[in-house]
């Protein structure tokens, strides 16, 4: 493929994916407020637009017009840089995620991910997740506020601890697929057995891996039941106490973008990616894989919100004990069992 075409295609894909991702972030907030509200027997947003669908737009306008206050005693360079770091690395990891089969236009094959099929795609996502910890830690420290510092340190210690279990739960999938490339992992989950059960990794032995991944993902994205570092009743608001308006919105966006990335990764690795029933005319055949992918990500996000509405939050020492003393051994046992299963 000529280089100019590659660059043009990448730019177009980046623009489209970024636009879709930011819209998805805004409407995930709407979805959460509606679903959470209904679970608590109330309506959620209903006034702004039909079913409250324009609520994210109203929220965005509010954040734009709010006063962006920088308190006087903060360490200004890091205070301004921390939300940028959080949001940049939350949005970067979407660049190696494939959304469907490569599309054939004319005589060129264009993969449906912003980069081409990277050999070590999974490692890149893990690396970007590791760097995202800095946004939280630096925000907490630069705010020059003991609640923010404690919240930031707790949040980053939690994220670093659960990153290990996250990585280990993915290794089971890697052993079964034999490659770090995300497209290969999805291709290894094609087909059915017994005619109707799809050959997704969650059904072919990675169920424990899936639950390890799920729990570690809740802790990585600081969501209930692991959201002590930013709970309002605990530490004022944790690491984003001193932030207002657009900077706070950037932390918010970073959290939801992380949720979406984690959901995309879960569907690629455990729920079969874009594999699903394909039927109909060629244009429908091209769009259906992306539709199945989006449906699975939506189901995963619904599960996120469902868990938020159901469970209470862990205390911090319970949280750390759970991560190190339960989840890490379970992930290790899953890894060993998968290795033995594949070797036979």
């Amino acid at each position: 493929m000529p280089i100019w075409l590659y660059i043009v295609a990448s730019v177009i894909k980046s623009v489209v994916v970024l636009f879709l991702l930011l819209t998805a972030v805004a409407y995930t907030v709407w979805l959460e407020r509606k679903v959470f509200g209904h679970m608590q027997n109330r309506w959620g947003p209903t006034r702004v637009g039909p079913f409250g669908l324009l609520q994210p737009a109203a929220d965005g306008l509010k954040f734009l017009f709010k006063e962006d206050l920088t308190p006087p005693h903060v360490y200004k360079p890091l205070f301004l840089a921390a939300p940028l770091i959080a949001v940049i690395f939350a949005l970067t990891s979407i660049s190696v995620i494939p959304f469907g089969n490569p599309v054939v236009i004319g005589k060129y094959v264009i993969p449906l991910q912003i980069t081409t099929d990277v050999n070590t795609g999974l490692l890149l996502i893990l690396g970007v997740t590791s760097i995202g910890v800095y946004g939280v830690a630096l925000a907490g420290w630069s705010s020059n506020n003991k609640y923010s510092l404690l919240g930031g340190l707790r949040a980053s210690a939690q994220m670093v601890s659960y990153e290990i279990s996250l990585g280990l739960s993915l290794v089971g999938v890697l052993i079964m697929a034999g490659s770090f490339s995300l497209t290969d992992i999805v291709h290894a989950q094609q087909g059915h057995f017994w005619g109707f059960i799809p050959r997704w990794n969650i059904f072919t032995g990675q169920i424990i891996g899936f639950f390890c991944y799920l729990i570690a993902a809740y802790a990585e994205t600081n969501r209930i039941p692991f959201d002590l570092p930013e709970a309002e009743t605990e530490l004022v608001a944790g690491y984003h106490t001193e932030y207002s308006a657009m900077k706070f919105a950037m932390f918010f966006m970073a959290e939801y973008a992380n949720m979406i990335t984690v959901g995309c990764l879960a569907t690629l690795l455990f729920l079969g990616g874009w594999n699903g029933p394909i039927f109909g005319p060629p244009i429908l055949r091209a769009i259906l894989p992306v539709f199945w992918f989006a449906a699975k990500v939506f189901a995963f996000l619904f599960l996120y919100i469902w868990v938020r509405g159901t469970l209470p939050r862990f205390r911090y020492d319970q949280l750390m004990a759970f991560g190190w003393k339960f989840l890490l051994p379970v992930a290790l046992v899953n890894l060993v069992a998968t290795a033995i299963g594949v070797a036979w």
Binding site: L123, G127, S130, I131, Y134, S156, A157
Partner: protein, 178 residues
Amino acid sequence: MFSVHLILFLFFGAICVAGAVNLLVQRHPINSALSLIAVMAALAGEYLLLGAEFVAAVQVIVYAGAIMVLFVFTIMLLNAGVEEQSKGSHVALLFGIPGMLLASVLLGWVLLKHSGTEAVAAGALPGAPKVIGQLLFHEFLLPFEITSILILIAIMGAVVLASKPMGPSGGPPKKVSE
């Protein structure tokens, strides 16, 4: 002459050099830590240029994403402030910097003069995870197992060093509240 490879090498190299010099120049440790993170990220880019994709990913995940997080934690916990200057540090500055400049110029001159101009192609030695894994578990199995024991020793040492001092007569430390 100016291939894309050379331009990328110079780009990442410039970030490395700027980060290393910034580490020396900054007086607050948190700024030094952040410039070191920038150096490590740029080095990961250099490893990618040499084809070592697995090493680049591990550099970002382990070095920039875990070891430096430890450093940043320690700086935050101990509330490290701006460095104080003393007589010893002025002497060190006076002799250290010219000495190191001289040594590094000498080193650079020797390297450039004697290494010739054999070029290393972009992506010269693809280090796919599979091949590195095979090497790790076949030829380097003994070092691999020994490093795992080393990590275990380091974990135990760190836990013992950072725990509270023991109660009187060598019992477990007294708890403040149950």
